[in-house]
Symmetry: C2
Subunit: 273 residues, 2 copies
């Protein structure tokens, strides 16, 4: 199993798809060039187009015999410079990385009257008025279990829209006349684009584009839609009851939680020498 | 006077030169498009090709009448996304930004067995063996006044090679199995490529490519060259007595010191609204 880090800007996301650069395809090509093997990769999160990863995981089988050190150096040599293998560990053949304990995502915002060149590819630039207090006040409502039917892409095929958010922290720091905001979100599983719609909805509230009670309505979209006679009740599509989708380039898959974590529990290996 | 921030990767440095993208030229073009003026820009540091800036300064005269707010928004609108104006202040017509109190540079190193995609354009990746203690031990020798004749580019035209280094700090933090190192350097003035040669020489020592007393010899290059009968005595070129030049993309011009600093001493202005 490999731990991968990538800047997602040049890719159409994790998922292998013909005719579009994708992370999985790039890793499979590197594996094939190096070992001849290119079994499918199992990953716990299919990051979307433009989304970054600090600790994406990818499981694969190898038939060729190659040391971890050779595999590490060889893969990093084959991969483009915006994708790196940062760690490797052997796992049992029946290891199911999709059965993880959850994930941590970090969403980064830069709110100021200028777009910072060093934040350009990692932060969502939000110019103009921004009421951080409104964002801080509304955010805790996300914690716990909710029907997130309003917080998923219209194309999302998920059947169960009930998800649980176990952490939703906002930290910020003043930089010159602007503010960098980091939103840390953890949960076992998320709907397609759920994180970005959660963040986008909060930003709509911070910018006074939505009233303070908008988040409560969005988290209870089914009841609210019935109450106001929305046509969402007929179509079953509640997306319109939440706010905008935050852009992909602000989002990073920070960590995947495994219990036990094979990277932590492995015996000391000296292959990194 | 504008405070500029830029990622230098796409530019041949600050200095305007025909046929090569450069920071000064990009800012002058933006000024001209916006105001019709494009007087030459006075800057305290001509950053080299590939070098970044967090707080470069640029002074210019305007004949057109335009508010600071319009100028700020207009310039940022005209400039490419890797260059930004982060602040503006009016200064007297005779203001001499070249007569500053000194500059702060930060050089960033990432030493690990993998190249981190998020550090790719801002850190010098140094793989393999790295003895940080040797670097920390040697570094304080740079402090104070020295003849830095060995620490300048062969093309450097500077007449006085005596320079004073007032700060040379190294901080580092462990990240996974690697280490991020930040070197902060301050001084009134530096020779061409002096900072990068200072850092490169330390890294040579940390990698055991040079002995521990190498830095002492390089800082006393004239005496050392005479002692060993080096031909540098005849040519007057002592570059060979210091170590390698660290790559440009790890270097950032962090701040220029002005006393008084017009950005600090200005009366409260509301043009940023």
């Amino acid at each position: 199993m490999a731990k991968l880090r990538y800047r997602g800007g040049a890719y159409r996301g994790w998922q292998a798809q013909p005719g579009a650069p994708n992370i999985q395809g790039a890793v499979m090509a590197a594996l094939k060039n190096l070992t001849g093997d290119q079994g499918p990769l199992a990953a716990p999160s299919r990051t979307d187009a433009g989304v970054h990863a600090k600790g994406q995981l990818a499981c694969f089988d190898l038939t060729s015999s190659i040391s971890l050190n050779q595999l590490f150096k060889g893969l990093n040599n084959e991969l483009p410079s915006d994708i790196a293998v940062v760690d490797l560990v052997e796992v049992p053949p029946d290891f199911q990385v999709r059965q993880n304990e959850g994930k941590r995502y970090i969403y980064r915002i830069w709110t100021a009257i200028y777009s910072d060149p060093f934040f350009e590819n990692t932060h969502w630039w939000v110019p103009g008025q921004f009421d951080l207090d409104k964002m801080l006040h509304a955010a805790p409502q996300y914690l716990g279990s909710h029907d997130f039917c309003a917080f998923r892409d219209r194309c999302c095929q998920g059947i169960d829209t009930n998800k649980s958010v176990t952490r939703f922290d906002i930290t910020s720091r003043q930089i010159e006349a602007g503010r960098e905001i980091e939103v840390t979100i953890e949960g076992k599983a998320f709907l397609h684009k759920q994180i970005r719609i959660m963040v986008g909805t909060l930003v709509d509230i911070a910018r006074n584009r939505r009233p303070a009670n908008f988040l409560d309505q969005a988290l209870n979209a089914k009841a609210y839609a019935a109450q106001i006679g929305s046509e969402s009740v007929r179509t079953g599509n509640y997306r319109g009851h939440a706010g905008q989708t935050a852009p992909a380039h602000g989002l990073t898959l920070d960590q995947v939680f495994l219990t036990p974590d094979p990277f932590e529990t492995r015996e000391l290996e000296d292959w990194r020498g």
